[in-house]
């Protein structure tokens, strides 16, 4: 890797900014700003830095509408908003998907619009930690804030999560390396365990790697819990892990002073889905009889937890909330984006601060080719290739301020560091405009009846 000169050419610095990438929400970033552009970022990881110093080549700057020929053409805000509002107002089964990369303030407008038109509001949890939330609903939610881990934990388990790649500063800032109040020697005071079928980058820097078979998570956790209860395992190997290893691991987890389990998409995406996490949660509950254990889901986007929290306090359900009958409904497999798309029920799809084109399976995206898609985002991405109306938003945490919730539920007010491009608008403003325009169209409809 080539050596890079430190950046010295900047006008001003902005301190204590919050990273708008993953669920770590590191709030100690320093932006180096030149000509109202972030030209350098201090303290951030590679992911955070690259997102904040975005690729301006692909920045969406003006509203676009798809023309007859199938090409996106520039238009003005009024036309684009009216077009989008009309699509929403006339829809029967609209889905508003996304929200995890925007602020709580935008969601407040979104829920107004969703409740008003009877839409389904869903966020990225539906394709990442949705099963975790279902498991939480089945088994409980023993969590802590990351500072507890930093100050107390002497054993840290990553399961189904490659933190070194997807949450690079997680180990450095919160879990493995920092020196905590009761862990003055930092990494040397802690045991790091990684459970993953692959020998990932996180596994490589752990003390123990447990490489169970793909799709063998549920059996493995069951065996671990059985051993905790004093059972002698029948099989020599469970899910590819030798009996003795499981016994040793159970003993180590029992005798630790404070443990924390971090779990990721490896568990939610494999065969037994929410039951893997269900078993993990129960494992933590069992362990608390002997020692102190907690867990935290490794949330991917900086505000994916925020949407779940926001929907829960507004409507009692965390995601996949269906307002179609005038009251909220939450039913897995019925009111979730992927199911609605694969069942081809959706008739208007609005995506805000998300990228289904990049993240939804083809079987779900295929329906997006049949229906109008409204996109509110900052970059031209795979979803733009499927979008009919494109509304350029702005970058929360850099160009606009807003509230977000960290993976452990700590709220952070992300401040504004630079001005947004002149032609862009705040997400909050766009959704409020849509709400007002939809109200007007619907009001006219009622009046004409």
């Amino acid at each position: 890797m080539a050596y890079e000169e430190p950046i010295r050419d900047y006008d001003r610095i902005v301190e204590n900014c919050t990273c708008a990438f993953c669920g770590c929400n590191c709030d100690d970033l320093t932006y180096l700003v030149k000509n109202e552009h972030v030209v350098g970022v201090r303290h951030a990881c590679r992911l955070g830095a690259s997102k904040i110093m975005e690729d301006m080549d692909q920045r969406l700057l003006v509203p676009l509408i798809r023309n007859e020929a199938g090409e996106l053409v520039e238009t003005d805000w009024d036309t684009a908003l009216d077009k989008a509002a009309e699509l929403i107002a006339n829809s029967v089964r609209p889905v508003f998907y996304g929200w995890s990369e925007t602020s709580i303030e935008t969601m407040k407008q979104g829920i107004k619009l969703g409740e008003y038109v009877g839409a389904v509001l869903d966020n990225q949890a539906t394709i990442c930690h949705g099963p975790s939330l279902q498991a939480v609903q089945n088994s409980g939610y023993p969590v802590n804030t990351l500072g507890e881990v930093k100050n107390r934990a002497d054993m840290i388990v990553y399961t189904g999560s490659n933190a070194m790649n997807s949450h690079p500063r997680h180990l450095a800032r919160y879990a493995a390396f920092p020196r905590g109040y009761f862990r003055k020697k930092g990494r040397f005071d802690r045991t790091i365990v990684t459970m993953d079928p692959r020998y990932t980058d996180t596994a490589k820097m752990s003390d123990i790697w447990v490489g169970f078979n793909p799709n063998g998570d549920y059996e493995f956790y069951t065996a671990l819990r059985a051993v905790l209860r004093g059972k002698k395992l029948k099989e020599d190997k469970v899910s590819g892990i030798p009996r003795e290893t499981i016994e040793e691991l159970a003993e180590a987890m029992k005798t630790t002073e404070y443990g924390c389990l971090f779990f990721g998409l490896g568990l939610t995406h494999s065969l037994a889905k929410q039951r893997n996490i269900d078993a993990g949660i129960r494992l933590i509950q069992d362990l608390n009889k002997y020692s102190k254990w907690n867990l935290i889901p490794m949330r991917g986007h900086f505000n994916v937890n925020g949407f779940n929290i926001f929907m829960s306090f507004e409507m009692g359900f965390p995601y996949g909330v269906d307002f179609s009958r005038g009251y909220p409904r939450y039913m897995n497999g019925e009111t979730n984006t992927i199911d609605l798309l694969t069942r081809e029920e959706v008739d208007v799809f609005m995506v805000i601060a998300a990228d289904p084109g990049a993240h939804f399976p083809g079987g779900a995206n295929r329906h997006l080719a049949n229906i109008p898609v409204i996109q509110i985002d900052i970059h031209w991405g795979p979803s733009t290739e499927l979008a009919d109306v494109v509304l350029p938003g702005s970058f929360v945490g850099v160009e606009v301020a807003g509230t977000s919730y960290r993976m452990d539920g700590v709220p952070i007010y992300m401040k504004k560091a630079i001005d947004k491009p002149e032609t862009c608008r705040d997400d909050e403003w766009i959704v409020r405009e849509l709400y007002e325009r939809v109200q007007k169209i619907k009001g006219e409809k009622i009046a004409s009846k």
Binding site: T145, N294, F313, G316, P328, V410, Y413
Partner: protein, 569 residues
């Protein structure tokens, strides 16, 4: 806009009005003593008029509420009401969604609610929810009892720094008063432990609950905050804990009150959970008598009850080790939330059933407290919502308090377990509350305890927070018509908040934005600055957020009611 409520029967204990036929007038959101002829007249003949209710202890907003809602969709599904032209959709029974919380309090004629536990680190979250709740004024009490800085200063008995810390943190979190939950116990839970009794030292910190309570009470009085310390003592829900409770109250007896707006120096919360005798769940029985005796003899104590309502509910408290014990007991899904340097919380669904002897005795203990504490100004109506039951059950509790007949009926019909007869004396207590006493325990006394001078009464200058209930006090016999009492108190004929009519005949007819009440202590700015210099190195090292991102900014409190206090005056 001017209004006149004509011919109601007014109960206003603060102003010694006990069931007088009287007009109540208000203008521009305040009670006035006369209005012009343009005033809009509302006829409330043969109806009860009270100040809007003040709930002294309820859990309605904050991180643990949201965990409850998030992980109990089966509870959210229970209270579903579709949206109307005025209201948004409601969900939830024991842990209603934010809009539902506001509407439901309004329907009961309540105007002010205290959110009883706010972890400072997540105070922004609590305030976001407060903004999402319509119709009621809300004050939130930040948690101090297990804060590392507090533990340290309490150990050193450093009251000056402690006072400056409280002053600073109330401003940082936009909090109202000092809440203490299981002092030392939640910190011990950081290692999976607990403390028992007031003299059990906290692991590592080597400070006792006694020292923490005393130091915080002293600091609280040094500042002269409008509310006293709000204490959830150690050993909640343990058989035999009444001794700890009495000791806890005794700790502050030498602390001199330093506030003209309230009478107490300690508020004991959900006292029902702390009035247990016996040594285990088998020989568990009521210890209400000793606790009530202490309260009757010491006017520096007030309490609220936390009455069991025998429902399926969700228990949630910052007393996290207790919640884990509860989970071990009932095996239902356990949620926990430890907050760095500050506190912890636990959540477990719980089914209180009249068929269970323990739950029934708990039910009796709460009622015993209501009966045995003689001065209604010292005891307040709560269910520690949602712990002992959701707040929508207040009308039912009122009906129990007003009807000895109903209580005996429940015991005789087997609606509660027969153990109630053996393990409590509730069947022998025939006291029945009158409407004036109900008005005291549900509005006047809580308002006084919190130092709300413009709430909880109908005197001139007070906020026009008014509840009208469709009961004719001259003809009704609450002892027999307990169902009518429950119905009326659950469906206010009118609820007025700051002069705006929110509820008519039990229906929400309009909504308004909630307001956040917080205490701004002035006069300690320099001491705070010195203290912060001491705190900052620790803060930077052990918190995971930057201090710059820690406070609750003004945009989270769009409608503040700022109570200014001059420190030490």
């Amino acid at each position: 806009m001017e209004y006149i409520l004509k011919n109601g029967t007014v109960y206003d204990p603060t102003n010694n009005i006990d069931g007088e036929k009287k007009d109540v007038m208000f203008k521009d959101g305040k009670i006035v003593d006369n209005v012009s002829s343009n005033a809009k007249e509302l006829d409330v003949t043969d109806k009860i008029v009270m100040a809007a209710g003040v709930d002294p202890h309820s859990h309605i907003a904050g991180p643990k509420l949201v965990v409850g809602r998030l992980y109990r969709p089966e509870d959210s599904r229970k209270g579903i009401v579709p949206k109307t032209d005025v209201t948004r959709a409601e969900t939830g029974f024991s842990i209603p969604s934010c809009p539902a919380t506001g509407y439901r309090y309004s329907r009961m004629g309540y105007g002010t609610v205290i959110e009883a536990a706010m972890p400072p680190l997540e105070a922004k979250h609590t305030h976001e929810e407060i903004v999402a709740i319509p119709n009621i004024d809300i004050a939130a009490l930040p948690l101090f009892g297990n804060n590392w800085f507090v533990l340290e200063y309490a150990k050193e008995n450093n009251i000056d720094d402690l006072a400056a810390l409280i002053s600073k943190w109330l401003r940082l979190t936009r909090g109202y008063g000092v809440k203490i939950v299981n002092p030392g116990g939640s910190e011990a839970w950081g290692w999976g432990m607990n403390v028992h009794g007031v003299d059990d030292p906290v692991p590592y910190w080597d400070v006792t609950s006694r020292e923490v309570i005393h130091a915080l009470a002293e600091a609280n009085e040094k500042l002269g905050l409008p509310h006293s310390i709000h204490l959830h003592p150690n050993d909640l829900g343990h058989p035999g804990n009444y001794e700890t409770t009495v000791e806890s109250m005794d700790i502050v007896k030498d602390v001199a009150k330093n506030s003209p707006v309230r009478n107490q120096t300690v508020h004991m919360t959900h006292i029902q959970y702390h009035s247990y005798a016996g040594t285990n769940w088998r020989d568990f029985e009521s210890g209400a008598e000793d606790v009530a005796k202490f309260i009757n003899n010491n006017d520096y104590v007030t309490c609220d009850v936390g009455q069991i309502t025998l429902d399926e509910t969700t228990t949630m408290t910052a007393d996290a080790p207790m919640e884990f014990d509860l989970h071990q007991l009932n095996g239902l899904k356990w949620a926990n939330k430890d907050i760095e340097l500050e506190t912890a919380a636990g959540i477990v669904p719980f089914i209180y059933s009249g068929r269970n002897s323990v739950h029934s005795v708990q039910w009796a203990i709460g009622l015993e407290m209501f009966m045995m504490v003689e001065n209604p100004w010292q005891i307040m109506l709560t269910t520690d919502s949602p712990n002992a039951g959701p707040f929508i059950r207040y009308p039912r509790v009122i009906s129990w308090l007003m009807s000895n007949k109903r209580r005996l009926e429940m015991i005789e019909n087997g609606e509660v377990h027969k153990a109630v007869g053996r393990k409590s004396v509730i069947a022998t207590l025939d006291r029945e509350y009158d409407f004036n006493e109900i008005a005291t325990i549900s509005r006047a006394a809580p308002a006084k305890a919190y130092g709300f001078e413009d709430k909880g009464h109908l005197g001139v200058g007070a906020r026009a927070d008014i509840a009208v209930y469709d009961i004719n006090p001259n003809t009704i016999d609450p002892s027999n018509d307990y169902e009518a009492i429950e119905r009326a108190f659950g469906n206010a004929a009118l609820t007025v908040k700051d002069g705006q009519i929110l509820v008519k005949d039990g229906q929400v007819v309009s909504t308004k934005e909630s307001q956040t009440i917080w205490t701004n202590v002035k006069g300690l700015e320099e001491k705070e600055a010195v203290l912060m210099e001491k705190i900052m190195p620790v803060f930077d090292k052990y918190y995971t957020v930057k201090y710059e991102n820690y406070p609750v900014f003004d945009n989270y409190v769009p409608n503040p009611i700022e109570v200014n206090v001059q420190a030490g005056k």
